[in-house]
């Protein structure tokens, strides 16, 4: 299934945050959306999953979803959004409960999702007993259990320390290699964008506009820190960001 955003414009109380943004997540591909903080990239993601109404523009899906898909557009949140009074199992179970299926099927989905993120041993733990990385893996398991057509990932690694972030990037790469899901991966971190994105949509400062979409052809599983292709992509993205910053500086000097 593809997820298509067309000409999205959004404003908060007169302040424009997104300006005519169009973006497509194609089946089996991760699109990284990269931009400075406050450029509206998280807002774009909330709009694309139906958590916010844009001032103008439309979001469509096209194509069929897999038969096991319970929730086609599924978020992974920056702050994990785990329910503190539910165990890890119950957190993963929560979105399955209202779907008509046998309890055995539900439990099978939960345990396979927890196994895929290596959390089987912590199924009975409460969120506060988990480390940051484990919390995010639990929230990824919750998303995996509903077999989404498109993952909507809102800075999923930003609340984690650098080492945990590296480990989770490897986990995400492995998960994608197992089942080629599609995803929109919002981040402000260039390293994450070039490690996980099949393409990187670079957003401008507020109001967010798409500056350029940088394609990275290297297969995810082969990507390593310091691979020449990734360095090239990173440098290209850096140049875009630098040019943007230079424009900003000129604007400030005009204002003075």
């Amino acid at each position: 299934m593809d997820l298509v955003a067309r000409n999205i414009t959004h404003a908060y109380g007169g302040m424009r945050v997104l300006d005519d943004v169009s973006l497509t997540a194609r089946g089996g591909e991760i699109v990284a959306v990269l931009g400075p903080s406050g450029c509206g990239k998280s807002t774009l993601l909330r709009i694309m999953g139906g958590l916010e109404k844009p001032v103008s523009g439309d979001v469509f899906t096209s194509g069929e979803t897999a038969p096991g898909t319970l929730n086609p557009l599924t978020y992974v949140f920056q702050d994990f959004a785990l329910v503190p009074w539910l165990s890890v199992t119950d957190n993963v179970m929560l979105p399955l409960q209202h779907h008509p299926m046998s309890d055995t099927d539900r439990r099978a989905r939960v345990s396979s999702a927890l196994a895929r993120v290596n959390l089987s041993d912590f199924s009975a733990a409460y969120p506060k007993q988990l480390s940051g990385g484990m919390k995010q893996r639990a929230s990824i398991a919750r998303a995996l259990a509903v077999e989404p057509a498109v993952f909507l990932m809102d800075e999923p690694l930003s609340a984690l320390d650098a080492q945990t972030r590296d480990l989770l990037m490897e986990d995400l790469t492995r998960l994608w290699t197992e089942t080629q899901f599609s995803a929109i991966y919002v981040t402000h971190n260039i390293a994450e964008a070039v490690r996980l994105g099949h393409s990187v949509a670079v957003l401008s400062r507020r109001p967010g506009r798409i500056r350029e979409i940088v394609k990275i052809d290297m297969p995810l599983a082969e990507r390593r820190e310091g691979a020449p292709e990734l360095i090239r992509a990173r440098d290209a993205i850096w140049d875009l960001i630098r040019a943007e910053a230079a424009v900003a500086d000129r604007e400030i000097s005009h204002a003075l």
Binding site: L51, N71, T74, Q97, K128
Partner: protein
């Protein structure tokens, strides 16, 4: 040689520890000792005649009054009457309060209509309504229960809707993004999220309920701890009066222990 130990400076002054205090702890057996000391002071003051037996009866007198009330069955009779009023009034007021609190917390219509009404009712000392309730409902049980229920209702509403308001909206949006139905969200996200506030509201309104219970029983009741305390005062039977007051203390204490237990069980995840 950067790692070689430097020669000691001529005058080494140890730094002061500055982070003491502000960490009160429970000292074991101190509570029991304090009670024993208070009891001892009471016993000394009465047995040495510092205060007259009429003003403050000796501990032995209070104990005797207790055992007399137990053997002639009056304690059970008073306790049963009081507990029944308290439990029914608290349950009624509490459940209506929680329901209205949820409505105010979840619906704009309820918030705009019921909240101003509850805010206006909240500051009324509910005992002032007892005469009205007696006119409406008679001098019997119903008017007392209604006063207690009313007194419990408004603080429960305020606590509950505050609790519902404080539930993390991120969790609600998460559940919505997974297509979780509204009723399930209320039951599994909003209710447990509001539970800490509901329980602390229950704690406050329980103490209000005991005050109203006592006052209502003093205004017009044959049985009940409040009626017993008032009657003992009128008859200058202070040892029975003090025994009644101790019963009220025990009642309040056990209610708050019960709520503490509920907090421990329901809020285990914290």
């Amino acid at each position: 040689m950067p790692y070689e130990r430097a020669a000691p400076a001529p005058n080494l002054v140890p730094i002061a520890f500055r982070a003491g205090g502000f960490l009160p702890r429970r000292i074991p057996f101190m509570a029991g000792a304090t009670f024993a000391a208070a009891l001892g002071l009471w016993w000394t003051a009465t047995s040495l005649g510092w205060v007259s037996d009429l003003a403050l009866p000796p501990p032995a007198g209070v104990l005797a009054a207790f055992s007399e009330m137990i053997t002639n069955g009056m304690l059970v009779k008073h306790m049963a009457a009081s507990l029944q009023r308290l439990l029914i009034g608290f349950a009624l007021g509490g459940s209506f309060g929680i329901a209205v609190g949820f409505a105010i917390g979840l619906s704009s219509i309820a918030r705009s209509s019921a909240l101003p009404l509850v805010s206006a009712l909240f500051p009324i000392p509910k005992i002032a309504l007892l005469p009205l309730f007696i006119l409406w409902l008679g001098i019997g049980e119903v008017s007392k229960v209604a006063t207690i229920a009313f007194g419990v209702f408004s603080p429960m509403v305020i606590a509950t809707f505050g609790g519902v308001d404080s539930v993390d909206r991120g969790l609600i949006r998460m559940a919505q993004s997974f297509g979780v139905p509204r009723w399930t969200i209320i039951r599994r996200i909003v209710l447990p999220g509001a539970m800490p506030a509901i329980l602390s509201g229950a704690r406050i309104s329980a103490s209000i309920a005991i005050i109203l219970l006592t006052a209502a029983e003093m205004i017009g009741a044959q049985y009940g701890i409040g009626a017993m305390v008032l009657a003992s005062g009128n008859l200058m039977r202070t040892e029975q009066l003090v025994a009644g007051v101790l019963v009220l203390s025990a009642l309040g204490f056990s209610v708050s222990q019960g709520i503490g237990l509920a907090e421990k069980r329901l809020l285990r995840w914290r």
